[in-house]
Amino acid sequence: MSPRSLFDPPGIISRDDAESLTKRILGMAKAEQSRVTIIGGVRGNTRFAVNQISTGGDNTNTTVTIRSTFGSKSASTTTNKLDDVSLQAAVGLSERLAKLAPDDPEAMPELGAQSYQESPSWNAVTANLDPAGRAAAVRAVTEPSRAAKLAATGYIESDASAHAIATNKGLFAYARETSSSMTTTVRAPDGSASGWAGASHTDWSRIDPEALGARAIEKARASANPVAIEPGRYTVVLEPTAVGNLLQLIAFSLNARNADEGRSFFTKQGGGNKIGLKVVDERVTVVSDPFDPDAAALPFTPEGEPAKKTTWIENGIVRNLAYDRYWAQKQGKEPTPLVGTLRMSGGTQSIEDLIASTQRGILVTRFWYIRPVDPRTILFTGLTRDGTFLIEDGKITKAVKNLRYNESPVFMLNNLDAMGVPVRVSASEDGSPGFAIVVPPIKAHDFNFTSLSDAV
């Protein structure tokens, strides 16, 4: 074993160790083409509920996946048993299954050596966050919450992992990644009010637990005694988290093949796809950049292709869709992988400015239980949650009951009125670090709310 940096937590496989492990496994392989993927790391988490820590977890795991190809027949196996006998068994099974698989008319050859740019995806503070550090962050929320006679519930997660890919064609890729998030929901003990705040970053020190707690407490206080309003079309001011909740739905629909096959919003009527067509307001640009310091991602894809900055939508016009290697070759395009990061253009206004310019509208903190309804229009349904307010004459005047919407982010970005300064958000439903998303708060008109909810 090679020496490990004193600053790295145990459980993160080093570049040298990963390279020698992939060589060991490729040495066992007899397939015409083989690919080995190693993912290893540690995850720490602390949950809190009703102002106390409820549970936590610290775990470590390393998995190895072997993909074997004979001609155009492929299969794969995954194991976390790293002794030679188990690895040999996993390689043998992968090769046996590959021989039993039918020929794949879409098979693509494994890649040879590639060069990768360094991504700012690793942070030592995040990698070394321990249970005591997490408990201190929890206390920064629970103590003011208790003092305010409210009940704080929430979650902290920090992940640190190393990823390596090697093929018998000479490819070797290695990178490390960290991610962290903290979210909290502060409620009145009788269930009459609820406020949320959350943040996510590669670098745990960029998350301010005390500020999150203060924000959630303020929202909880302001959300008491919500009034019912008539469902319908409203101007909305969406906080960045709410924008992130919806923007990622477009990212999940960017598959070029589905568009070309006629089963996507990005299908052009009459055939083909919408690349080159304007689909949203011209102020909207959406990019994925794995080297973005605020939304970093691994510098390679699961097949070992170098990840690159991709502009999906530029000034409202579709510039790229996601092409896997097979579909790109078939269509005469460059492979364009989807990477786990997203940034949307913005403006210079603050959220207060957006509110001040709104005569009558609804301020949304976040959305919840977002599920697809109609893929033809990227129409989703879901509900507002933990801080929904009425804006009248440029001011927040009262809390309103939560609302269900049936709306598409595409329609929303066509009805755009204004955008604020983009920030990194925690936009996953489950509070895990999730997709790295940087988005602005926005103001949009005619957002379609279809029913009221009694849920607080």
């Binding site: 795991n61 408990a135 979650y155 269930g191």
Partner: protein, 538 residues
């Protein structure tokens, strides 16, 4: 509906015989990839080592779970196999209670030294967690099982079935679907799990269980010739089950593929629904998901007590003292049962993940809230209610973890709508309905964080007029407020119409964990429900 009668008879016999009928003698085959079975004494030694280390480090209670999961997934699209993966994961997790605070740590390395290190790590974490502790955890009593084994009875271990047979079945089913004119795309897949897990607790339980799960599925898409529309049908009438490969064979994918493809094509030209209020006749292949979302989740006690507020949410069935024995959830014909014994169900087990023998209990009795789902930590919270009932306070056996890597916590057992006394079918209910919509298969679903406001789509929608189905509809979703919806239920099917649906990946907790759960139910009618049209033009 081929399964319904058999399943109901099994359910009845399970109730009559009690759990003992499901204690199957241990039986292990050694296929190509298996590690030594977990009832090998060396695993017991390792587990005891972790328990001893936790005790020495100051834990008043500890448990260790060692598990090995094997999964196989095969996915096919049209005439090709997209993915063929066989995976395994092996490791252990140690949970400790130190002066009322939980700690948990896990590792893939099953060496004697690592058992000790991880146990100490869990204790150190519990000590850190104690810094933010107000109400120390107290566990309900349990009767330990010193040496137990349990195994889901399967006819055919999926890992013994040749992969060629599985691949050929998927490609044949895809070909059958593509033979239907207008069906353009088809995906099919099968997924199998075999989990062996052992649990050792510091209060004397040592049990080894073997669990199987199987899910075959398909999705057929039809595209309009002018690319103006596309519609898909999922094979939702085939539910995932806690069974072996026999479930795949019984699912008759090739025979059903033609029907699913025909339905997808028919949906292209179906009438778009007119918004309004309708009587809904919900087939069990649809209704199971409504039961799951609007009954099973809100009756989880941790949600009701605020523990899941940050993600899964709280519950409108709260606080318990205002609900138990008082709150009318639905009509007298509504009885909701929690169990982990139904043959072929996804929640079936001999012991839960803290060594409790699960019991069958009524969550809703004649329309009134009667109980919640509980673990050993939670049951004492309802001490007052159990005393009032003249019952002891003990867990219903609802503790579960998705793997060795994650801490166990409260997860739902099978939660089912029991059949009505009158023997009537889905067709009988349609015949009794003047103006309505019949819905089959689960589709889009969304519900708020207290489980009040929900919206459900489906796979197939049929317009009912004068007791007859007069045509297919599309773009249908219904919106509901949970107690109003269930109180509008006025007809339910009998024993012969009982069907068990279910889900492999029910998410809850942070980090989110998947639970596999089945929900039995009967076709039922709901009066005057708000239906919206979800079709819009891009």
């Amino acid at each position: 509906m081929a399964h319904s009668r058999r399943e109901f008879l099994q359910l009845s016999s399970a109730a009559a015989l009690g759990l003992a009928a499901y204690r199957i003698p241990p039986y292990y085959r050694i296929p190509e990839r298996d590690a030594p079975p977990l009832n090998d004494p060396k695993f017991k030694e390792l587990a005891m080592r972790a328990l001893d280390a936790a005790k020495s480090a100051g834990a008043e209670y500890s448990d260790v779970r060692i598990s090995q999961n094997r999964n196989q997934a095969i996915q096919a699209r049209e005439h090709r196999v997209q993915a063929l993966n066989d995976s395994e994961t092996f490791g252990f997790g140690v949970r400790v209670l130190v002066r009322g605070a939980w700690g948990f740590a896990a590792s893939r390395d099953l060496s004697p030294d690592e058992m000790v290190r991880v146990a100490r790590q869990a204790v150190a974490q519990a000590e850190a967690n104690r810094a933010v502790l107000e109400r120390p955890v107290v566990l309900a009593p349990v009767t330990p099982t010193a040496n137990g084994t349990w195994r889901i009875p399967v006819e055919s271990d999926p890992f013994d079935v040749p992969v060629e047979e599985k691949v050929a079945l998927l490609l044949d089913a895809n070909a059958a679907a593509l033979n239907v004119k207008g069906a353009k795309f088809v995906t099919s897949a099968m997924f199998f799990l075999r989990e062996e897990k052992t649990l050792a607790t510091s209060d004397g339980t040592y049990v080894v269980q073997t669990i199987f799960r199987a899910q075959p599925r398909m999705n057929v898409t039809a595209v309009a010739p002018d690319f103006s529309d596309f519609q898909s049908i999922q094979s939702n009438d085939i539910a995932p089950r806690g069974l072996g490969y026999e479930h795949v064979r019984d699912s008759k994918l090739v025979e059903n593929a033609t029907r699913w493809a025909t339905e997808a094509v028919e949906k292209l030209s179906a009438k778009s629904v007119e918004v309004g209020r309708y009587d809904l006749v919900l087939h069990p292949t649809h209704l199971w998901l409504t039961v799951h979302e609007s009954i099973a989740h809100p009756t989880e006690l941790d949600r009701a007590m605020g523990y899941e507020a940050n993600y899964a949410g709280t519950s409108f069935v709260s606080p318990p003292e205002k609900m138990l024995g008082k709150f009318r959830y639905g009509p007298d014909i509504m009885n909701i049962q929690g169990d982990r014994v139904q043959q072929g169900s996804l929640s079936a087990c001999g012991w839960d993940d803290e060594g409790v023998v699960p019991e069958t209990f009524l969550i809703i009795k004649k329309g009134i809230v009667n109980d919640y789902q509980t673990t050993r930590e939670q049951a004492p919270w309802l001490d007052w209610w159990y005393k009032k009932q003249g019952k002891g306070t003990h867990s219903h056996g609802c503790s579960y973890s998705q793997s060795w890597e994650d801490i166990q916590f409260q997860r739902m057992p099978n939660v089912s709508l029991l059949p009505g006394e009158k023997e009537q079918s889905y067709e009988d209910i349609i015949a009794a309905t003047d103006r309505g919509i019949a819905i089959m298969g689960d589709g889009s679903f969304s519900i708020d964080q207290q489980r009040y406001n929900a919206q459900f789509g489906g796979q197939l929608f049929y317009e009912i007029k004068g007791g007859k189905i007069v045509g297919m509809l599309k773009d249908v979703a219904y919106q509901m407020r949970t107690p109003d919806f269930w109180n509008s239920m006025d007809m339910i099917g009998g024993k012969k119409s009982y069907f068990m649906g279910g889900a492999f990946n029910d998410g809850k907790g942070q980090p989110s964990q998947s639970n596999a759960v089945s929900h039995g139910c009967v076709p039922s009618r709901f009066r005057n429900i708000n239906v919206i049209n979800t079709g819009r033009k891009a």
